[in-house]
Amino acid sequence: MSNELLFGDIAALRPRLASKEISPVEVAEALLDRISHVDPKLKAYNHLHPENSLAQAKKADVSLPLGGVPIAIKDVLNVKDDPLTCSSKILQGYIAPYDATVIRKLREAGAVLLGRTNMDEFAMGSSTENSAWGVTRNPWDLDRVPGGSSGGSAAAVGGHEAFAALGSDTGGSIRQPAAFCGCVGLKPTYGRVSRFGLTAFASSLDQVGPFTKTVRDAALLLEVLSGHDVNDNTSARRPVPKYTAALTGDVKGLRLGIPKEYFIDGIDPEIEQSVRAAIKHFEGLGAEIVEVSLPHTEYAVAVYYIVATAEASANLARFDGVRYGRRAQGATDVIDMYGRTREEGFGAEVKRRIILGTYVLSSGYYDAYYNRAQKVRQLLRQDFEQAFTKCDAILTPTSPSSPFKVGERVNDPLQMYLADIFTIAVNLAGICGLSLPCGFTKAKLPIGLQIIGPQWGEETILRAADAYERSTKWHQERPNL
């Protein structure tokens, strides 16, 4: 398989597969070969099952939308008969007994499932350093983090160890690592993609979405993943548009909002420069740039760490050693067993968030924290509704900083939480957003541009992102691995 094809996107691969110029098995073999050379450095994968992937490739129907395309899966989604660990010791040895709905959809679309990618434990973190199985490295600089929590998926796609990957985004866990690893990451509108089979972190914020090398691939993946699911009461009963058909390349007259609250002190000047240049570029393509205001932005991080931790404290209660997963030995009774199992099984960040979430829901504190946070969440939603009366999409940096060094922020949770400052409000409002490459720092680290759309605005943000991508070359840069 040629390097051109290996480093290219799905849109370029599919015609070659369809014409039988190359077989799914050759593609899978080429990728597995690259993984065996590159992954010892990147450590993007928690688990690989080459025989299984090759068997899927052998049977792949290339006439299907993703026929024969190898895709990596974040270790937070259930893949039947595969290990599911969420990068936590508490699920060590657990084998998933069923397929998540998105996995079923990938299979039905002919995809070849490659392996399970590393993540921050239970998707809690912004650097993939909170993994029980070790740190994943940034393909552009091995001393730096890939972002998180879906850092393994981002590194796998950015490092060309997969054509695409699935991640989950609760506060930026797809978009921020996509920005850090120089790929495209899409967080769909809440309810667009089924959550059935996605291990829950914060149920009202979680969405599954794709990592891809190009915007057109993101549109293709979203088309496959979207749709109502009878197993998810919060999934929307809405027809799925043909997202790939929305990529007209034309943004003339499209109103793009620039929120003044997102260009703040503390943002890396190189990032600000690149994003400002991208805004100019859109202007050159015929888009109309308007200033908008999202006045409650400064409260988003605080609201997020109340709502998300409250939901997490309940969602993670099921990991108790009674029915599955790790069970601590030597307990004197069932309460003691819970304590020991969770003490041994969970890492520090997960414990911190469970304790925080338990606290904000406690009697006497509920109104001051959880209830108030829900009210401010409503205000954040209204901010966006207001802004979208003046524009069709919003442009911001994806992250205020470029990829930081491994270990640099592990002892400063607050600094780590601020890595998601530009992505969190999108989840709280339940709307959609994507990140795509818009430049590099002098040190050759990727910079991400975030395009935010209203509820069900995926066609608009994909169209804008695609128009930008077509007229720039950032996505063609390759890391030197």
Partner: protein
């Protein structure tokens, strides 16, 4: 001291009744809802609380809860939601129970007592206050937990029951005697069976009752300190447990004792209650809205569907039987007390000339031989 012991006390009683709904499937998944069965055979990722599983509310359970609300003359909330009730318990797969906290499906309503609902030995007493209506606070919908069995060195859990649709019917503190509590439960059970909502068999755990009881000096307005009694497993046990607990609390006060707010356990063979926990040890359930389930609107369609299932209720049936077949009020109430019995009678009466003597025969002869209509060996 001598004056204290002379004070007469009266009881204030409220009941929380859990009722398993008779539905085809469980509350939040497609597993069969069935009593009995080999342990751990009706299971799926949802009712086992596996990672990634999501609850989808059972429409039949919602409809049957609304039907119950209609039969008990409750107000059906136009909008309600589910909440998570958090506590760790080995029987609970997710370590939270999906329940309804501040927005239950049904509000208020009541259960009307009638003579035959009282224990046989007091049916002729004036205290069998036949027309008293016991008010309801609310009815909400939740999921049942699993069932554990404890052996010598270990415990086993059967998750078949986990996720069974469960209604909680909370009464006002309108009951004043153990016999009224007995009558309330009998009358409630009768209506639930009439509506086909539940078989409400307490022995099978299909209907379970937590008893709240306090006593106060006659004439005092404020309630005494509330004691909750658990593990009361039949309607007659509710009467026995209440008699014991009212006497115990009264004697305690009369002896100058104080009562803490506590939960006690009824031991039926021994005929006494023992302390389980005092209020300081009570749980903080940290309720919050269930984010996996959208708030529920009880729209016209849902109400109409429940309305269509409304049966002829016992009282209406009694009146109709008396009028249509020319039988006595007493005969009509006996026949209407059991929906299956009334069907049996009506079939038999249709074939007979003398409707009253058929009623007589069934009540005096047939019922003397069998306790359940299903056991009558001859067709009507």
């Amino acid at each position: 001291m001598s004056t204290a012991s002379a004070v007469a006390y009266e009881a204030v009683i409220g009941l929380e009744v859990h009722v398993q709904l008779k539905t085809n499937t469980k509350m939040f998944c497609g597993c069969r809802n069935e009593y009995g069965g080999e342990p751990n055979t009706h299971l799926c990722p949802v009712c086992l609380g596996l990672p990634g599983a999501l609850p989808v509310p059972n429409q039949e359970a919602i409809r049957k809860t609304i039907l119950t609300g209609l039969m008990l003359e409750c107000e059906i909330a136009p909008r309600c939601k589910f909440d998570r009730k958090n506590y760790f318990y080995a029987d609970m797969p997710k370590n939270y129970q999906i329940s309804q906290y501040d927005q239950p499906l049904c509000l208020r309503g009541g259960v009307k007592l009638y003579t035959l609902a009282f224990p046989k030995d007091v049916q002729k007493d004036p205290q069998a206050n036949a027309n008293k209506v016991i008010g309801l606070t609310r009815i909400h919908l939740e999921e049942d937990v699993a069932k554990s069995a404890h052996y010598e060195t270990q415990s086993g859990i059967d998750f078949n029951r986990a996720g069974t649709p469960l209604m909680e019917i909370v009464s006002e503190a309108d009951l004043s005697t153990p016999e009224e509590a007995f009558a309330y439960l009998s009358a409630l059970k009768q209506i639930l069976v009439y509506g086909g909502v539940s078989d409400a068999d307490m022995e099978k755990g299909q209907m379970r009752c937590d008893v709240n009881v306090s006593v106060r000096p006659v004439g005092q307005k404020e309630y005494g300190t509330k004691v909750e009694v658990k593990n009361v497993n039949s309607i007659s046990a509710v009467r026995r447990a209440l008699r014991y607990e009212i006497d115990r609390q009264t004697e305690n006060y009369q002896a100058g004792g104080i009562q803490k707010q506590e939960t006690r356990r009824w031991d039926d063979p021994k005929g006494q209650t023992t302390i389980m926990r005092v209020k300081e040890q009570a749980h903080d359930y940290r309720y919050f809205p269930e984010p996996d389930i959208l708030p529920l609107r009880t729209d016209k369609g849902l109400l109409a569907a429940a309305q269509a299932d409304l049966p002829e209720l016992p009282e209406a049936k009694k009146t109709r039987l008396a009028a249509a077949y020319g039988i006595s009020d007493y005969q009509a109430s006996v026949l209407a007390s059991d929906v299956a019995l009334s069907h049996y009678y009506e079939k038999a009466a249709a074939l007979a000339k003398n409707k009253a003597s058929v009623a007589n025969y069934i009540i005096n002869e047939t019922l003397a031989l069998v306790s359940d209509v299903a056991d009558i060996p001859v067709p009507p």
